[in-house]
Assembly symmetry: C2
Homo-oligomer: 335 residues x 2
């Protein structure tokens, strides 16, 4: 074990140059004779040399690593985002270090950020969808490039976010367009910005149509809470259209409706949010709103990289529009 690989000096010796020339070749400096460059490359290949990131990080002050702070990476949204971030980062030559936290409270977030900072990450992406994360972020050292995803729109921090409001408005409008008199909403937890945005969008669409929003049914993202809400919705004959804050809630609702003999979409129409891969195979196939996680990842990474390169902070803001995916869970109400 611990048979350390060759270092830059070994490559230099083999190629008959100084270690600095090797460094220049590696970093793509212009002023290296083509012939020298080739000799160096050959030596690198022959020795199987791999640059030591730690040494580079030490001298440059930052590593080629981006830290991501996320909660609950088992959920579809965060997991997709994380995967997309990792892909995009890899293309830019960055590794991604994950610091998932159980709770998005001040202490947990700070701890995760601390861990990343002590590894001298080049920048940090915080997937911080809840209220309590916000404070933690403002107390962070100002000299670390930072981007938040789905965070608090009211804070002066660079933010990339799915346009929750537009998505929710589209979902609600889709139901209204189908002829429904009103639309009920099963929401996510109230301390998530995602939830708040979706509630706002739903409310806006109703108000714009001159309707009074019916009471909100609060859930917690899980199929389980969707089921509980569904049991209530099923009992109310007037309910003909439901918009749920995510697909898992929708799944729970679908099952409750099924148990009560309320048919979807014949009796009640349902629209979800997220477009999980299985949504097309729910009973019935779920109409839902698909956020573009790749676009979010790309936007946040780009924002982060520009901070890293330029050194400027800047509280940019970028929004990615989701698209409605129409399937069979929506139909006009029966007279």
């Amino acid at each position: 074990m611990a048979v350390h690989g060759p270092a830059m000096t070994d490559v230099a010796r083999l190629a008959g140059v100084s270690h600095q020339t090797v460094s220049r070749v590696l970093n793509g400096h212009p002023n290296v004779r083509e012939q020298t460059r080739l000799r160096v490359r050959a030596a690198i290949a022959e020795l199987g040399y791999r640059p030591n990131g730690a040494a580079r990080a030490l001298v440059t002050g930052r590593s080629q690593v981006i830290g991501v702070v996320a909660q609950n990476t088992t959920l579809y949204g965060p997991a997709s985002l994380l995967a997309a971030l990792e892909q995009t980062a890899a293309e830019e030559g960055f590794a991604v270090s994950v610091g998932s936290v159980r709770n998005l409270d001040h202490r947990s977030i700070s701890a995760a950020v601390e861990r990343h900072l002590s590894h001298r990450v080049a920048g940090i992406v915080v997937i911080a969808p809840v209220e309590s994360a916000g404070e933690a972020l403002e107390r962070l050292p100002k000299d670390v490039p930072l981007v938040t995803v789905d965070g608090d729109p009211s804070r002066p921090v660079p933010l990339v976010t799915v346009d929750q409001v537009a998505g929710a408005r589209a979902a609600t409008q889709h139901l209204l367009d189908a002829g429904h008199r009103t639309v009920w909403h099963v929401s996510g937890p109230s301390d998530w910005f995602d939830s708040v945005g979706r509630i706002d969008g739903w409310r806006e669409a109703l108000l714009a149509a001159g309707l009074v929003p019916p009471p909100l049914m609060p859930g917690d993202w899980s199929a389980s809470s969707g089921y509980r809400c569904g049991q209530m919705l099923a009992r109310m004959p007037e309910v003909t259209a439901v918009f749920t804050a995510n697909d898992h809630l929708a799944l729970g609702v679908l099952r409750a409706l099924h148990e009560f003999g309320r048919r979807v979409p014949d009796d009640i129409s349902v629209v979800g949010f997220d477009d999980v891969p299985e949504a097309a195979y729910f009973i019935p196939p779920l109409t839902t709103v698909r956020p573009d996680f790749d676009a979010v990842a790309r936007a946040s990474l780009q924002m982060l990289l520009s901070q890293i390169e330029s050194g400027t902070g800047g509280a940019l803001r970028q929004t990615v529009a989701p698209t409605l995916v129409a399937r069979e869970s929506v139909a006009p109400p029966r007279r």
Copy 2:
């Protein structure tokens, strides 16, 4: 930007000691006077000092980072595993760097491993569920602590794996116990060891009961392929029990059966694998097999850490038994 924080010497100066004493306090060396230790800690706190991981990694030859190579971290299984690994690693003071790859072929895996190596990770966990990953692993440098998860049982590499065979056997037996004459199987892709193990377990259980396994229906983990298989199963009156290689396949099957008017569990019983959180809210709630991802993560990390500490390689092997979760999708066949 680039306002570098205080270094060890700054702490030392403030505490009135040498930087080496600070290092000793940080690393918990025994021979430091209690009073000195307190002074140093106070200085650390006052300056908000954070040790520089890069410098430490440079001098010790390895960082407090564990590299994870995984494919498709959007799927429930890999995502759960990753999250569990990260949690466990954090408890041990390690960060986790993810290198997700699109394809698990030789080139991609090697590239991901290379990236990790150049960051001098302390060890690598490869979630390598497919055939083609195997070769890549054997050509890796021997001096890097390495553990594979759900990998090839026939290769001489430390391996932690869910006991797929036992899980599949339990699922199949559960259906036989309910009185079914035979059990059909919708499998995962044939190059995944998970699939192979589950097929083996299914086959074993049938053979042990003196039955001839019916034809295998190959799927690809997705609800979509489950749906396609389900359309065929629904057409065959003799089919009364189906075991699917994961819950998403089961979801697709459920929907196909529903469309064809075949009721579950009245006409056909279904058992899945994974116990995704939504499985309890399928129509009907799905009986499934739950692998213990936390246990897998703990076992693999423990195995990795012991390699890191001892320096010995050793081709250990550890298996984690899954449990059957009975819900409503299984019933005795109708006469």
